[in-house]
């Protein structure tokens, strides 16, 4: 028994993405955002996409490239505060935005990855975020139904991987990546270092390779990954 090899050229890895797909994108700010896969998706050209991402990065960075190119119809997110361009698109009606509480977005994605239907939560139950949500009674208390989220593809950034797709993250570049890596039909991971099988210890794996479909080795990192000067 040996574990299969899932390393791919980047074009091959993202070839399956189609117009109208839902695509999850890891990252919280710069850390963990798969900048290179995002550029490949711009080149690929799939349109009418629904993106799921914590934030919209900053103007001219990360998923803002996909917003600029007009490939995104809908964005499921938690906060756009650092991207005035995204807020402009939202206010003009060119982009439909669905806001979630951050931890609830995380749980909805995780529920999708765990094969659950939904989670019940009381977060935001007395705020406008509760509007339009299904409510169920349990134990004499009302709960909001927060449906599981899955995607056609997930774009993941990891620090290290092996050819089977076991992934390890560093620092705050973990964020939504391990959750999204469970919740898509096709999971594509760009990684800074591809180690040989066995190079990543069984106990240091954050995302088991079972969840991952394609591993793309990054070359030298572009400026977009670097520390942002503010």
């Amino acid at each position: 028994m040996r574990l299969p090899d899932k390393t791919r050229a980047i074009e091959e890895a993202i070839a399956e993405i189609k117009d109208g797909d839902t695509v999850m994108v890891g990252g919280f700010g710069v850390p963990g955002t798969p900048m290179t896969l995002i550029h490949a998706l711009v080149d690929h050209g799939a349109r009418d996409l629904t993106l799921v991402k914590n934030d919209a990065n900053e103007p001219g960075m990360g998923i803002d490239h996909l917003l600029q190119s007009g490939q995104v119809a809908r964005l499921i997110t938690t906060h756009l505060g650092l991207n005035s361009h995204a807020i402009g698109l939202m206010n003009s009606g060119a982009l439909t935005v669905e806001f979630n509480a951050q931890g609830i977005l995380a749980e909805r994605i995780r529920a999708g990855g765990a094969g659950l239907g939904a989670v019940l939560s009381d977060i935001g139950i007395d705020t406008e975020l509760a509007q339009g949500k299904q409510v169920v009674e349990m134990g004499g208390k009302p709960w909001l139904v927060e449906p599981a989220l899955r995607a056609d593809s997930a774009l993941i950034h990891a620090d290290r991987a092996d050819p089977f797709g076991n992934l390890a993250y560093v620092a705050t570049a973990q964020n939504f990546n391990p959750l999204m890596a469970m919740a898509a039909t096709c999971v594509i991971a760009e990684v800074e270092t591809v180690l040989p099988l066995g190079g990543l210890g069984a106990n240091e794996v954050h995302t088991p390779g079972v969840f991952v479909d394609h591993v793309v080795a990054l070359g030298d990192l572009s400026e977009e990954y670097a520390v942002v000067r503010r």
Partner: protein, 210 residues
């Protein structure tokens, strides 16, 4: 039958082998066969079983057998382990059975009044693996058929079984009930039909043997 069942595993699959007969399938997979074996207590990439003296006290499969890892194994918690199962990442599971019905219902966890230790992870494996096959003796110890028109015992999951490997035959569960696919060497279609408590469709072509 175990060797025949092992050939059901296609290259690249993620596979869970249930407690009992299915566990033995691992001995029929070559060292360079590309496959990922999963066990629900939190390991992907199971390697060969270990004896007492070379065992790692912290490394067991769901049946309690001491196992090893392979290059690229990963360990995870029980929630992640069943996330793999329920989210459709398990290509195949091989399970034992008390009874299988002609519609693919599986009963393998409870004999009311006699045996009710709990279902463990069996319900999720049976309900959510992309393909569920059963590995079992054709009849129970008393000689009663395990393949029946309907299960009498409490179900593990309904309509989940695609194929059954027994000591007598390979049988598919089709939309029209059981269909004989292969027989064991020296076993006739009539032998299989007599040991099966439901109609058994025969193919028009000669039956392969295993």
């Amino acid at each position: 039958m175990v060797a025949r069942a092992a050939r059901e595993i296609a290259p690249g699959m993620v596979v869970n082998l249930g407690i009992g007969l299915p566990t033995r399938v691992v001995n029929h997979l070559s060292a360079d066969f590309p496959v990922c074996l999963h066990t629900e207590n939190g390991l992907s990439g199971i390697g060969p079983t270990r004896g007492h003296d070379s065992a790692d006290r912290n490394l067991i499969d769901a049946g309690g057998a001491y196992v090893s890892t392979v290059p690229g194994s990963a360990c995870f918690d029980s929630a992640t382990s069943f996330a793999i199962v329920r989210s459709g990442r398990l290509d195949l599971t091989m399970l034992g059975a008390f009874e299988v019905s002609a519609t693919g219902d599986l009963a393998n966890w409870k004999i009311p009044g006699k045996f009710s230790p709990g279902a463990g992870g069996g319900i999720e494996l049976a309900q959510k693996a992309r393909r569920v096959v059963v590995l079992t003796t054709h009849c129970d110890r008393a000689g009663n058929p395990k393949l029946k028109q309907a299960c009498a015992l409490p179900l593990t999951a309904g309509g989940c079984v695609a194929r059954i490997f027994t000591d007598l035959a390979v049988i598919d569960v089709t939309g029209d009930g059981f269909a004989l696919v292969e027989t064991a060497d020296g076993i006739s279609a009539t032998d299989v039909a007599e040991a099966t408590d439901a109609p058994l469709a025969l193919p028009d072509t000669p039956l392969p043997t295993f």
